[in-house]
Amino acid sequence: MNIQNRKALTEKRIQAKEAMKRPSHRILVCAGTGCLAGGSAKIYDKFLELAAKEEGVEVEFGAEIAHTGIKRSGCHGFCEMGPLVRIEPSNFLYIKVKEEDCSEIFEESIRNDRPVERLLYEADGVKYETQEKIPFYAKQTRLVLKNCGHIDAENMDEYLAVGGYTALEKVLFEMTPEEVVDEISEANLRGRGGGGFQTGYKWKQVARQKETERYVVCNGDEGDPGAFMDRSVMEGDPHKMLEGMMIAGYAVGAKDGYIYVRAEYPLAINRLKLAIAQAEEAGLLGENILGTGFDFRIHINRGAGAFVCGEGSALTASIEGERGMPRTKPPRTVEQGLFAKPTVLNNVETYANVPMIINEGAAWYRSIGTEGSPGTKAFALTGSVKNTGLIEVPMGTTLRKIVYDIGGGVKNDVPFKAVQIGGPSGGCLVTSNLEVCLDFDSLKKLNAMIGSGGLVVMDQNTCMVEVARFFMNFTQNESCGKCVPCREGTKRMLDILEDIVAGKGTMESLKTLEELGEAITNTALCGLGKSAALPVLSTLRNFREEYLEHVQEKCCKTGNCQALQQYKIRPDLCKGCSKCARNCPVHAIDGKVKEPFVINQEICIKCGACLENCPFGAVVKES
């Protein structure tokens, strides 16, 4: 159906709202990547089957609006507890649902409106019936992720029903492009991709270029290990991002938008494709949108999995079909970006912020978050925390609130050690930083950055040298190979870190690490290179004693570094049963039966099989 003018859009929205109200119950099965991996597709099928057999219960699906009834929603965010199922209107949230549970859920919650107690989230002895009461959700401010998990991501009508495309309508009929740019500038929206650059200023710069052929590009190449904020938006609420891009296109006078998504996000790509097709069919994308004369098309480009393609100039090069390598600036992307034309380049979350700023106004937006960093920020909370998942909080929320209130504290109640924030380009925050407000400026002062929003929690059992080695391995693998400091320097830093975790480090190694780190930070060509050494420098600063342990005492107290561990057999406890020797995969254990056995350290691969198998507790692990 083609919506040709504003009136038709309003009518369509009313219809969609009606249709959404029609069924008495809605079962929302999380279809985010995490839950899908946990088997949510089967759960969805099961519910479909149950609902089909059911008579008398008003569960509708497959009528005018395809999936009303049972939804495949986007990510609910509470990935630790997946697969998740939400029942509306009672708002029950069930966790770790299995196919076998479906009948019971259907019987109890759909027919009798009662919760299935055993599937509810429980913390500190309290069972939480509804999603809204669970601290993980209650303590968040979900604005960008508002619709994720609540509407059918594959159905544009539901997006319309919850107020989608009202912002586009508003800018097209009530605002000039300049007013749109001013509104975004006034809101002080800062880029959510890492840099925190002012979006309004960026748009203004593009809008004032002489060249009239301009582009809007969306960076969906989310590459930080453990980060999935953008993926969730693309999967759970794709139209919101498209709407943001269209508004940007209108504001800067662009006719084409490109979304660069990593190919590892097949679900996001499919949902975006579907969303674009739906918007095109409805006439919200294409020529003469809503009869206003505004033309805009959106294209999808898949990235072949290079972290560096998240860098602006590498990303545009990759869209152009060139090798994804950053180039020197100037000219900047706003002057000569995609196809050497002025280009607005923002990430997914940034665009997803745009519609609500237009709808609610800059003043409202500035009332959330801090003065310098208004709005909210989505974080991917992972690592050693009880409630991992996708969260959204106002800028300026303290680290403590995120880790303890929302995250529920460190897993197994081990003492907190640090968080790695901003992915491989970021830095670590330690116990003394727990009260730090997370926003662009206060993190910069701590030599860390929000980055795109990866938050990896680490406890006292985490070896920080190993963490540094892990991130350096990542950056080294992802370096594009263009500039010498990043290409060669990260390789050497990785070599040194590998030596240190293998017990071959010296004091000289630490000095060289610092020297290399400083040189790379100061001389690398692009943002990726300049930040490549930060995890190492940051851990060297905050956890120097751990490095010294590894280097001087050749020990790793956390037990993470395998090479620094030794398995030994205590002769006083060994009965000489030979079970360890029989289970050793490399025949490193020798001895005479009924006499104490001995492990040959040169052959031992430290797999721990002996320790697991010893019936007398005679095998010990020493560092």
Binding site: A306, R323, M325, R327, T328, K329, P330, Q476, N477, E478, S479, C480, G481, K482, C483, V484, P485, R487, E488, G489, T490, K491, R492, D495, T512, E515, L516, A519, N522, T523, A524, L525
Partner: protein
């Protein structure tokens, strides 16, 4: 006037596009690997990093000068970073410097020495990668590559070929042809400009020095050398001879000392080419057929045209290049004598060009199914031979080349520079050869180093439209314009290398802007020293046509297109 301050020295900004140019203008030779004024800014080597008064560190090659900037080029930090970058490069580089072709001429080696790297702390974990020796012109040795990308950009931006590019990521990055092809399987034209810009010997010229020494040592072989126009003004570069000075006599003497039996001047063959090409052009003009006529002296261009614009291959002149014509004539000339003396004649051409090594293997350049030119030595290889033998090139006085094939006109001499072939053809076609007329031709727009030059002349009452192109990317663009109907010509001269053969891939480097200018002047000076200005006035040429060449013109002087 706006200024920036560089190491406490005020330097005026006079349209420079980057801070690096200003630093060099201030008299400081800031080192770079990846910066070349004729290529796009790449910013990868980070050698040109500088610090400003706020402690900000940036690469000066990619920084626009802003009035009032205060720059320091040698602070303690900058010194240490620069040193570390070199150390990092050396750490993964093949450090067998003593047996390297580029030993003593390697920019990495000299910069390591300059910035004072005397120790490499990192173990060399480099994996041995295979060397590509398949091209007759170029050798790719990835073990010595520092990934500055100069070759990649030259091949793409200047030559429009794009035979090589980066593959893989991070420390595994390599410059190679796509899909692991050998260079000989790509569209590489063999121009050697990649080797000319390579700071190390990752890309080098395929050497024929040893086989030539072998031939010289063989008593049953008559070794004949022919020396191309551009060799004489560059061969002295490595012997403290002023840039652009004509060292032809010295070279002849050096070649005799080495043991070459006969030494001839390719300028003579250039005259032959002018005669043939001018005749072909007049014929095509008359017939109105296959116009524009494209020159065919440059093997890089011929191959480029065949590879990328095969629809234009018929427009290429059927003439062999001067090298090809000469070798065919020489082989024919010595045929009977060889039979009588029981000898074998080998023609070694001494060229500024690496693509010539490929040209001699082309079947259309064969005569009676046999290769005419046996080996091509580039100027740099000859320099190596002179050094190997210990000839004190600056001290020897010089001798004249052998007759009868060394008498040449000034028109033949200027073949070495862009516009030279056109100018020589115009001289040939002009009925008057007086000073005024020749001067007029030289000012008609054929001279100068612009990438594309256009001119029109009157010939027998008809306007003849001429284009002179250097740099293959320029040629490609010109062909696109011709195809699109935006331009039309009757005669188009193309030389693959910028400025022509004087900057060929086989010429000694490094050659900065001043050397380029001197070489161009040097070529025109050779012309000025010639009494004969036009090929048709050359008595040796006349004698050849009337003598043993009679009836064999087509066989010996034109490409054998039906092989």
């Amino acid at each position: 006037m706006d200024y920036i301050t560089i190491d406490s020295k005020k330097v005026p900004i006079e349209g420079e596009k980057n801070v690096l140019s200003l630093i060099r203008k201030a008299g400081i030779d800031l080192p770079t690997f990846c910066y070349h004024s004729e290529l796009s800014i790449y910013g990868a080597c980070r050698m040109c990093v500088v610090e400003d008064d706020r402690g900000r560190i940036f690469a000066s090659c990619s920084e626009q000068p802003r009035p009032g900037m205060v720059i320091y080029t040698n602070t303690k930090r900058i010194q240490s970073y620069r040193k570390l970058i070199i150390e990092l490069l050396l750490a993964s580089h093949d450090r067998d410097c003593t047996v390297c072709h580029k030993n003593g001429m390697c920019e990495l080696q000299s910069l390591a020495y300059r910035v004072g790297v005397h120790d490499v702390r990192f173990p060399n974990t480099r994996e041995e990668k295979p060397i590509d020796m398949c091209s007759p012109s170029i050798v790719l040795d990835p073990n010595k590559c520092i990934l500055c990308g100069d070759c990649v950009r030259t091949c793409d931006e200047i030559q429009g070929v794009g035979a090589i590019d980066f593959a893989f990521r991070g420390s595994k990055t390599q410059v190679i042809p796509a899909f692991h092809k050998k260079l000989s399987e790509t569209e590489c034209v063999g121009c050697g400009q990649c080797a000319a810009v390579c700071p190390t010997s990752a890309i080098s010229i395929r050497s024929n020095v040893t086989v030539v020494w072998d031939a010289i040592a063989d008593k049953n072989v008559r070794v004949i050398a022919q020396v191309a126009p551009s060799v004489r003004i560059a061969v002295g570069d490595h012997f403290q001879i002023p840039k652009g000075k004509n060292s032809f006599g010295k070279l002849v003497e050096a070649l005799r000392i080495m043991g070459f039996d006969e030494i001839y001047d390719t300028n003579f063959a250039a005259d032959l080419t002018v005669m043939e090409e001018a005749a072909e052009f007049v014929e095509r003009l008359k017939q109105g057929d296959h116009l524009p006529l494209f020159t065919s002296c440059c093997p890089g261009w011929v191959k480029y045209c065949e590879n990328k614009y095969p629809e234009f291959a018929g427009n290429l002149s059927t003439c062999r290049s001067p090298q090809g014509m000469f070798s065919a004539v020489l082989k024919e000339y010595y045929r009977e004598q060889d039979e009588k003396e029981g000898k074998k004649t080998i023609v070694v051409s001494i060229m500024p060009c690496t693509a010539k090594k490929g040209e001699i293997l082309r079947k259309d350049n064969y005569t009676d199914g046999k290769q005419d030119t046996d080996f091509v030595l580039t100027t740099t290889e000859v320099i190596r031979m002179i050094k190997q033998m210990g000839i004190q090139f600056d001290k020897i006085r010089g001798e004249s080349a052998d007759m009868p094939f060394s008498l040449a006109s000034g028109g033949g001499a200027i073949f070495g520079v862009t516009g030279g072939v056109t100018e020589a053809v115009l001289r040939r076609l002009s009925p008057q050869k007086d000073y005024g007329t020749l001067r007029e031709i030289s000012f008609s727009g054929v001279r100068g180093e612009d990438g594309v030059k256009e001119t029109e002349i009157d010939f027998e009452g008809k306007k003849v439209r001429i284009a002179v192109v250097n740099g293959l990317a320029n040629a490609g663009r010109l062909l696109e314009r011709i195809q699109a109907g935006e331009a039309a010509y009757d005669f188009v001269e193309v030389m693959a290398c910028k400025r022509g053969c004087i900057m060929g891939g086989g010429q000694p480097g490094p050659a900065g802007p001043r050397t380029k200018k001197r070489r161009m002047e040097g070529i025109y000076k050779v012309d000025m020293g010639c009494n004969i200005k036009s090929a048709d006035e050359n008595p040796a040429i006349q004698a050849l046509y009337q003598g043993f060449l009679k009836g064999k013109e087509h066989k010996l002087l034109h490409r054998n297109l039906g092989y």
